[in-house]
Structures are given as C-alpha cells and as structure tokens.
Amino acid sequence: MSENTERKIKASGLPRHAMPEQNPQKRAKNFDEVPLGFSLETAMDEATRCLRCPKPRCTAACPVNIKIPDFIDSIARGDIKEAAAKLKAQSALSAVCGRVCPQELQCEGSCVLGLRGKPVAIGSLERFAADYVRENNLENPPEKAPASGKKVAIIGCGPAGITAALEMALAGHEVEVFEGLHFPGGVLMYGIPQFRLPKSIVLHEIETLKSLGVKIHLNHLIGKMESVDELLKSGFDAIFIGSGAGLPNFMGIPGENNVGVFSANEFLTRFNLMKAYSFPEFGTTPIKARRIVTVGGGNVAMDSARTALRAGAESVLVYRRAREQMPARAEEVHHAEAEGVDFRLLTAPKRVLADENSRVVGLECVKMELTEPDASGRRGVREIAGSEFVVECDAIVAAIGNRPNPLIPMTCKSLKTTKKGTLEIDPETLQTSIPGVFAGGDVVSGAATVISAMGQAKKAAFYMNKYLRGEPLNAAPADKQ
C-alpha cells in the first residue's frame, strides 16, 4: 500500500478536531478571545489528517497562495518553527489570518476531505503555528534584501498597508507608512474586536515591521497633509495606497439621525481602539443601552452584535435576507448565536422611532420573503406588505457596509475612481492611473476581507518591485504562483 493511500484511509476515519472555545454564557460577558487555540498535541494530530494532495486545491483557493500542505506537513512532524517560516513566506499576518479569514469559502472550502467529511482545520493550524512561535520566541528575524536605495510610501497601516510595507521592506526599500489615526493596525485595531483578534497579536506584527526599519507616521492623514502628488514630489519612488473603506453606509431610513443610532465603525471603535469597556479609566464613553439592534449580516454585524452583549445589553440582529445569504464567516454566525444574539432574519428596517428628546426607542421593521431564484440563481427578497412591526430598543447599530473614504482622490485629481468611489486600477498590476502609485485592499475592492486586502497588497508589492527595478509591468511574472 502506498504511503498516500494509507494516509487517505487513516484520514478519512479521523474526526476533525474542534477548537476548544470559551463557554458561550461566560464569554458573552467578557472581552477575552473566544476560541482558545489548539495544543501542540491536538495540532499535530489534526495535521495528520491532511492528504498532502499533489495539486493542492487549498493553496489555489488561498488569496495569498500559502503552501498549505507544506506547512501542515511541518506541524505533523512537530517542527512548528519550520511551519511558521513557511507561512511567513506567503503571509505577513498568519496569526491574524488564522483567526479572521473566511476559511470555509477559501482553503477549507476546497479541501478534498470536505467532499466526504470535514475539511482539515487549516485556519486553526495556521493560527496555532503563528501563536506557538510567537509565544515561545521561536521566530526567525525575517531576511532583508540589501538596500535598494529606493523610497516607498505606504498610505494606511491596516492589513493591506502592513503587508505591502513588509514586502517592500524585505525587498530592501526604505519604507515609510502614513496612518491617519493615533494607532497603527487599521481595521485590525479599531474594527475587529478583542474577543476575535487579541490586540497583542496586531501589536506584535507592528513590532516586526518596525524591526525591519519601517517608519510609521501616526496622526498623519494623507490628503489633509500632503496629497499623493506631493508625496511623489517629495522623493518617494513608489506609493502604495491601502487606505481601506472607512466611510460607513447608513440605512437611509427616516429617523436615522436620532440619538442612539450608530455606525458599526463608531460602535466598534469606541469599544476596541478607544477601550470604552474600561470606562471611566479610559475617557471614551461606551454605549450604554438596555437593548441594542444591529442591522446587517456580515462579519462586522456579528462583531457589533457580540460586542453589544459584552457591553451588557440584550442584542438583536436584524437582517433582510435568510441565514444562507449571510456574508459573515460561518464561525462568527455560530458564535453569535451561541452567545445569545437574537437573530431576526428576513427582516428589514423601515423607520427609527424616538421619544420627545430624540432618543431611540425602537426600530420599525418589515418582514421579507425570498423570491424565486433569478437567471443567475440568486434569490432576491421582497417586503411582505402590511407586516410592519416594532423592535423595541434604545440603540441601533448600522453594520451594512462601508465605502472608501474619498479624501485621497479628492485631493489628487489625477487619481481616477470608479462610480463606487473605489480607485481605478489595472486588475493585473494594481497600478492606479498614476504611474508608480499602486493600490490594494478595500480602497480598490470596496468593503471585503482582511485576507483579500493582504492578497492584493502582496500582488501590488510584486509589481511595485518590478516598477522600482525599472522593468515593464505587463510582462507575465515568472515566479507567480
């Protein structure tokens, strides 16, 4: 029997290891991380389930093309340091990605084992390897290419900016990052809550950047200070724009400006970045409400609804479509439900109700129904006439997406934008309408995921390097996987 067949037989019989989690009733009242991580033994055991496919579908499905069977193989052998190094070669932020990637749509979603049973717990293994080397100080300092003499500016210190900065620094360029807020990390700091992504992990990644000589300018908002043109003139040879999608959408329903209606950005920023959960030690006021309604069905909506519980409120989630259409990671939906978020599906907000002091007292909603699938197979929704009802609440959080902040294109007219307000780029090279200026992440794709932003930043970095070497950008990359 070949080794591979043996493995297949073994793997098919092995159950997938579930990540141990904090008890849902307990965690709903604290801000500590929910999944507790694999032990070394569990991780090695889970790693043996991988079939080491010769043409791994998981790697192809990964936005940054992590060589998944390779790193899992290292874990199976107990060489976690090697596994982490393999991850680091493709991903700047594996400890983050292991936690926040929608694995069920990417690597795990295409795992062969998933066809008959459950896929390998790739996300949990990635997280384990990154955590293990960080906690045990086993990380190798990344190797940096000799100084190129080129200067690169990175706008925005979120997932895309961090990835681009890391890639550029490793390639030997002098890198300066410009961040508008007073803290680096972007959405990893202000948006994704502590219980999903401990902030110490983000800080660790920022320290790595600094150790590579990357200079981070905080409180420095490009567009209000220098414009992109001025940055180019001031001696930067290339620029990467990773300014994200920070402009929140509101629902566009009557009463939305009443006191007690928040964007998810505001709600989460208060609790995460500004640490309102430690009020009054920290000065930023938390949102104190008896019952908070979150509107939306994405990851941000789940984060908001779960933060609402931890803020001591009853948490209701209103989503206009059905569970199957929720864009959130399956794990987040599962966590939210286990913790006691009250899901009101096929329900759309109609009107915010307020008292005489303009304070929110309720959200009028209407029931929705799914329509028949259209030609593309997608099911729409329509209102059920006369089904209006009121969800009583004293705060409403709109988590229905973000658009890119128009600040940068507004102050740099030669940067072209699309109708959606995103930057216009060459889809292959990610170069914008200005030569030498590249972009990636949500500023290009609208509100998407951390990993897709990183994938784009990596790709942009590849072409920026070509650009900086003076090579033509359109030639097919030789070593692109």
Binding site: G180, K224, S263, M274, F279, T285
Partner: protein, 792 residues
C-alpha cells in the same frame, strides 16, 4: 394653639400666634420673595427681599423678623416695595455671575440647553451646576429687570477645591447665611463655619479661613444640601443636576445605621442627603458623600456566577445561584461557615443565624471595619473545619478561600477570593434593591439572598432583638469614620476619604511618557478659556483657516476635536483655544509648558474656501465663545486677500471676552457685544447680522449652537453665510459618522464635509440634541476627587 387674624394684601387670613409675618403669609399660600428665610432656621433678616409695609409701623420691616400680630394690615406688593426689592436684587446681582439674567435670549437659549454645561468655574447660569435648583434664580426671574444699573463687581475668586467633597465658589455666594445657620443647628450650636471678613471680602469660611478639614468641619454636607445658590456644591454629584426623586434608605457603612435619603435621577443613585435637621439625623462624610461613590464604583458585579463542571465561572441567574448554594449547604451539614458583616440589617442576621443553626454551622458577624475574619475563624479555616462557606464581603484571601471546598461569596465588587468560589452573588447596595432604584437583573442585596436560600432550604428565620453595638460615632469624630465596607477599604472607593487619614491601597504611579507633542504655552484667556500652543511642524505646515485637529491629552483620553486658531509654519507651532468643560478639555487645560500631549491629529476638516472671496469684498465675521478665536485665522486670511473685514464678538459678560487686540489687528471694523451689556453693545452677534447684514456679501458665524442658530435666521441677508459645526466626533476622518448633521435636508459628516456649512440649512435643534447623547456618561468620566486632573 392660639389663632390670630390679619390682613395681607387685602386677604383676611388666620395664623398661629408666634408666627412671623412671612410665615403667616406663606401658611396662607401668599408669596413674599426671600433668599435667606428657611423654614427650619430661625429668622435672620439678611437679604431684605421680604420687606413689607404694615399699617402703623414705620418704614419697610422685613417680614421674616416681624412677629405677626392680631389685626395687622400688611401690604407686600406695592410699587415702592417692588422698587426696593429690585434695587436689593440688583445689589446682589452686581456681585454674582448674573449675565444670564440680563440676557434677552435667556428663555430661548435654555430651551436649546436644557441642562447647564459643565465648566471649570461657573460664569453664568448656563454653566452653573445649580441652575435647576437655585433660589436666587427662582426669586429673580420675573422680578428682575434685565437692565443693570450697577457696575458688575465679580470677585472672580478661584474656586476653593482643596477640601474633600466640597467645592466652594464664592462668586456665587449671596451671604444669605443659610449654610452656617444650618451648620449650627444640625451640630447643636457648634458650627464649624461662619461669615468672615466684611463688605466685598465677606465670605463663608471656617475659623481663620483654614482648610475646612482643619478641625471642626465633619463634612456632614448639610450646608451643601441647603445652599440656595451654586456656592457650596458636592463635587461628585453636582453636574447630575436636580434629583427627580428621594428614596428613604438606611446607611450600612457603620453600626450606627443612619437613616438617609438617596437622590435618584433617571433610575440612578446620584447623591445622598440627611433626612431632617434633627442633630440626631446628621450624616458623616462617608454616608453623605461616600455612599454614592461606593454604589457607583467601577467594577461593580452586575450578575451572579456559578462554576460549572469544567471549572469555569459562568454568569447565572440569581435563582440558579441561590439554588446551587442551597444544595451546597445541604451537602455540607456540620461543616458550614456563614460570615456576614455585623452592620448587616437585622433580617439578614436572623436569616444567617437560621441557616447556621439548622445546618450545624458557625455564624460569624464580621466586625465593623475589618478586612479579614476573626482569628478563631481563620484558624478553623486553616484547620479545614469548613467544607462549605458563605462569606458576604471581601474578607478571605485567595489562599483561605482555597481551603474551603465549596466557597460562596457575596460582594458588590470583584475580589481575589472569588477566583476560588463556586458561587458568587452580586450584591445590591443601600437602596438599590427592590423597586426603589432601577437595579440590574441579578443583583440582590444580602438580605434577599439569605432569605431566598432559607426559602429553598425550607427554614423560617426567627425575629430576634438586635442592639446596635457601642461605638464612637463618625459624625462626631473623623477618626471613627468607617475604614472598610464589606472588607473593601472605603478610601480605595472614595478617594477623598484619604484626606481624613483613612487607610488605602497604594496605586502604582502612572509612568509619565514624554512622547508626543510638546506644549509650548498654555495661558488662561478668560475664565475656562485656555490658549494651548503646541509644537507640531507638520500640522503647522498644512493648517488652513477653518480646520480643526483631534487632541488627546494622554493615551487614555478621548479623541476630541478643537478648532485650530493660529499657527506658524516657520516656527512649527499651532494654537488652540479650548473651553474647560468636561474631562478631555480639563485634561488639556491642565497641561503646562514643557508637558506633552499624547496625540494631536490634524489638520482635519475642509478649510474655508478662500477662492470664493475677492479683494474688496465686505465680510462679516461673528464669533462667540471659542468661536472668538476660531474666526481669527479666517479674518487674517481674508485680510491678506484684501477683503474688508468687520468682526463682531460676543460674550456673556465683560470678563469673558478675549482675543480683542488680535482680532482688531486683522479687522477693518471691530464690534464688541456682551449679553449683559457690561462692555460694548448689549446683545449678541445675531443682532449685528440682523441690523447690518445687508451691507455684506458674506458672513461667517462661529460659536455655540444657540449663537449660530440665532445668526442663521438672518442668513438670507448675505449671499454667502457659513457656520462651523461642533458635533461629537470620534475619529474626525470620516470613519465613524458620529458627527452627522442635517444640512439642507441631507445628512453630512461634519468632519469631512464640514465643519463649515451654509448656516441657513442646518438643523440646529437636531445638532444640539445629538451633542447631549452622552451627557450622563460625560459626567461619570470626570475624575472628581481631590487633586484630580479635572479639579486641581
């Protein structure tokens, strides 16, 4: 009681013999104004507002000191009396911060600002914490002419904040004497305070004007309760405003178990006060000022916990926790310890006794002030005598708790021993239980917890006689003040108690970071207004007129927006003018040259579009409050362009004006207005706009919401009319949407679309409501203890 009959203003009334004319009138429901008369205090005759005319009596005697006599004919409302009262009030007002009384827009302004703004020092009713409960205000409104004929003689003394719990703002004192008379009455003739000095320098003080904490004053707070103006205030609770109800309760901080009234507002405990003027009902500092701070302490337990099979502490419902402990009691018959504070209510003690005796347990009544159990019980714990225990309070070390197999704890705060507990009950304190004050679901007081356990166990506690133990009263000796409550040091929860020498747990001193932005200068321009100059070459390089920056005094501060008022790119500095209001602005106001701000992020916001202005354009700039400084850079830039600039600034009163010479230097015409007419023209900027707006092509108004709202009514007079909006912001870069405002029916983000908007379309009422979104929490955020950054 002998009755007498008299006539007041033509009305025949019956009164009791021995009443004063004022008492007789009031008992008949007739109104005579007065500031110094108090139903609990003997007549004083200080304010002279209660003057009356009496047939056969010469002059205008004060009704509060004149005994009513049978057959008297009294007039209270003649032309002469009213003139006399107005003159008297005017004299009072000339020494009081009275700008709001003289302001023609007061009524409308107070509709927009239903609660007074917090401030470092009260400069008018609009920034006086006592506005909702001020006798001077209620007496004056209506009787007072808005025109003042006397000069204003504000002493503008610094607020005295060097004593625990009490702020004293002598600017607001009207020398009615209620405070020291109350003090004498509630302390049986041994008052600690009196009026010292004479004339303009007269003020309320302790002997030799020493700190009130020097000797006699016991900080019973009676004077604060009765002060009819905002002179004596409770530093902790003054900004919460007037209570909407009083709840009777019993203080359990020490074995005295004093009756106490809890002040409640919107279902929250905001302060405490004595129940009567009877000396026996006097409170001690811990009860009057400490109780509310203990009840509102950070880190209160909000719900019970029960440990599950996996050893995790899981939040639980009260009934679940009680049932769990009842099981433990049954299973550990004979090896049980029940320990509750001796200050617990009699019913709690009865219930504890019943459980202990029914299940063969030891009952320990923990001594008042103790932070540990008695020696004997501790020895028993070490010997492993108890396999189960119920301890109400923070009396066990973690190690001791670990010696008890099944440990249940009841507390209002987290404690180390809870790490070893199987059940933790969240204690409701004082009047929080029942329906008296809105409580969190799951919080129950000690008594109801024990009674519930008794009920589950099927035992009925017997009612026994309880004696309060002999002990020195904290009302009469500061050394007898309670040092600990339920095993927690009182001074840890109520910082000002440290001033009485109470023990506390030392806190590690915060590391002073010198990173960030250096403060070059911080000067006081007018009461509450500070000009803060910081080093930031980058901000100075890019700043433009009309922009703002987000400042954070330290890493724990809120991000707060402030208008950039001046800058110099060559020298690399920017200047802000900030008004000391709540925590953020106070933290910034306390910074001195050489200190560092943690963060300064800017310039932010869209600047004034100077391309819309041409040389020779006539522009009217209107500034009020911080806006006085905010229009300065706009005036300067327009002047550079060659525009004709007319600047008008308003302040409530003369001493609140600033930046006059700066603005004169960049204006072709400069107009000063004060709301009380003490300098320049009486009125507000909107009056200038209304009268002269048609002369101008453009107008820019920056000030408080009310001032801009008033100005916006005349926006049609100029082609261009701009205002600068100041909503709550978090990031200031367009990310959070907290700053959304309605302009012309559309929602805009003030931080990126503004802050400058066409004033005609702004929904100012919505803006003012959105600005109050966090008003209660903003008060909670203020550190209000001695020496805190907000009150030095």
């Amino acid at each position: 009681m002998e009755k007498i009959n008299l006539t007041i203003d033509g009305v025949k009334i019956e009164a009791e013999k021995g009443m004063t004319v004022l008492q007789a009138a009031r008992s008949a429901g007739l109104y005579i104004p007065s500031l110094c008369a108090h139903k609990e205090l003997s007549p004083y005759g200080a304010c002279r507002l209660c003057v009356v005319e009496i047939d056969g009596v010469r002059g205008t005697p004060t009704s509060c000191t004149t005994p009513a006599a049978d057959g008297m004919v009294v007039r209270t409302n003649t032309e002469q009396l009213n003139t006399q009262r107005r003159r008297t009030l005017e004299l009072v007002m000339s020494g009081h911060t009275s700008a709001c009384f003289s302001c023609d827009s007061r009524e409308e302004c107070e509709k927009i600002k239903p609660e007074p703004a917090k401030a470092g020092i009260s400069t008018r009713c609009g920034t006086c914490s006592n506005r909702s409960d001020c006798t001077l205000r209620s007496v004056s409104l209506g009787k007072f002419e808005r025109e003042m004929n006397l000069p204003h003689l504000y002493s503008l003394e610094k607020i005295e904040r060097d004593d625990p719990f009490i702020d004293r703002d002598h600017n607001l004192c009207v020398l009615c004497g209620i405070c020291f008379r109350t003090c004498e009455k509630v302390h049986d003739g041994h008052g600690a305070i009196a009026i010292v000095n004479r004339g303009k320098n007269a003020k309320i003080a302790s002997a030799f004007e020493k700190s009130w904490n020097f000797e006699e004053c016991m900080f019973c707070g009676a004077c604060v309760d009765e002060c009819p103006t905002g002179c004596l205030t409770d530093r902790y609770s003054k900004w919460y405003g007037k209570a909407d109800s009083l709840v009777e309760s019993v203080c359990q901080l020490c074995p005295q178990a004093c009756k106490i009234n809890l002040r409640v507002k919107n279902g929250r405990f905001i302060g405490a006060e004595k129940v009567s003027f009877d000396p026996a009902d006097t409170l001690c500092a811990a009860g009057r000022f400490g109780l509310v701070q203990i009840s509102n302490a950070a880190g209160r337990l909000a719900f019970p916990y029960v440990r599950n099979e996996d050893g995790e502490m899981i939040p639980a419902k009260f009934a679940e926790a009680a049932a769990k402990f009842a099981e433990i009691v049954k299973a550990n018959n004979g090896a049980l310890l029940i320990a509750i504070p001796e200050t617990s209510c009699p019913a709690s003690k009865d219930a504890a006794k019943a459980i202990a005796s029914a299940f063969g347990g030891d009952l320990e009544l923990v001594k008042f002030d103790a932070t540990a159990l008695s020696e004997g019980v501790r020895a028993n714990i070490q010997n492993g005598k108890y396999s189960a225990a119920f301890v109400a309070g923070n009396y066990l070390t973690e190690e001791e708790a670990g010696k008890i197999a099944h440990f249940a704890n009841l507390d209002f705060l987290r404690s180390k021993s809870q790490g070893r507990a199987e059940v933790v009950f969240a204690a409701a304190l004082f009047g929080e239980d029942g329906a008296k004050i809105k409580k969190l679901e799951g919080q129950e007081n000690l008594c109801s917890t024990l009674l519930k356990i008794c009920e589950i166990l099927g035992i009925a506690p017997e009612k026994s006689q309880h004696k309060t133990s002999e002990f020195a009263s904290p009302k009469t000796s500061k050394s007898a003040l309670p040092k600990a409550y339920m095993g927690h040091l009182v001074a840890d929860l109520v910082e000002d108690m440290k001033a009485f020498g109470l023990p506390f747990t030392p806190k590690p001193e915060a590391e002073k970071k010198n990173g960030g932005f250096e403060v070059l200068e911080n000067k006081l321009l007018a009461p509450n207004f500070h000009a803060l100059k910081i080093k930031s070459p980058e901000m100075a390089k890019y700043a433009k007129a009309g922009q703002f920056a987000i400042l954070m005094a330290n890493e724990k501060s809120e991000r707060s927006p402030f208008t950039i008022c001046d800058w110099n790119a060559e020298e690399g500095w920017v200047q802000f003018v900030l008004e000391e209001v709540g925590r953020s602005s106070s933290e910034l106001a306390r910074l001195k040259a050489g200190d560092f701000l943690a963060n300064a992020s800017g310039p932010l916001g869209t600047p004034v579009d100077l391309s819309k202005f041409n040389a020779g354009d006539k522009v009217l700039l209107l500034g009020g409050c911080y806006g006085i400084a905010a229009i300065y850079p706009i005036a300067r830039e327009l002047k550079k362009l060659g525009a004709k600039v007319v600047s008008a600034i308003e302040a409530s009163t003369e001493n609140m004006l600033f930046f006059e010479s700066e603005l004169k230097g960049v204006s072709d015409e400069f107009i000063t207005l004060t709301r009380d007419g003490t300098k320049g023209v009486k009125g507000g900027c909107s009056d200038v706009y209304a009268k002269r707006g048609a002369e101008f092509g453009a107008c820019v108004a920056i000030g408080c919401v009310f001032m801009m709202m008033q100005c916006s009514r005349h926006a049609s007079l100029t082609k261009l009319s701009l205002c600068s909006l100041n909503p709550i912001m978090v990031d200031g870069t367009g990310m959070c949407g907290a700053c959304r405002v309605s302009v012309g029916g559309e929602t805009k983000f003030a931080c990126v679309d503004g802050p400058m908007f066409d004033m005609a379309g702004v929904d100012f009422v919505e803006l003012s409501k959105r600005r109050t979104a966090y008003s209660m929490l903003e008060i909670d955020a203020m550190p209000r203890h001695l020496g805190s950054p907000c009150h030095k």
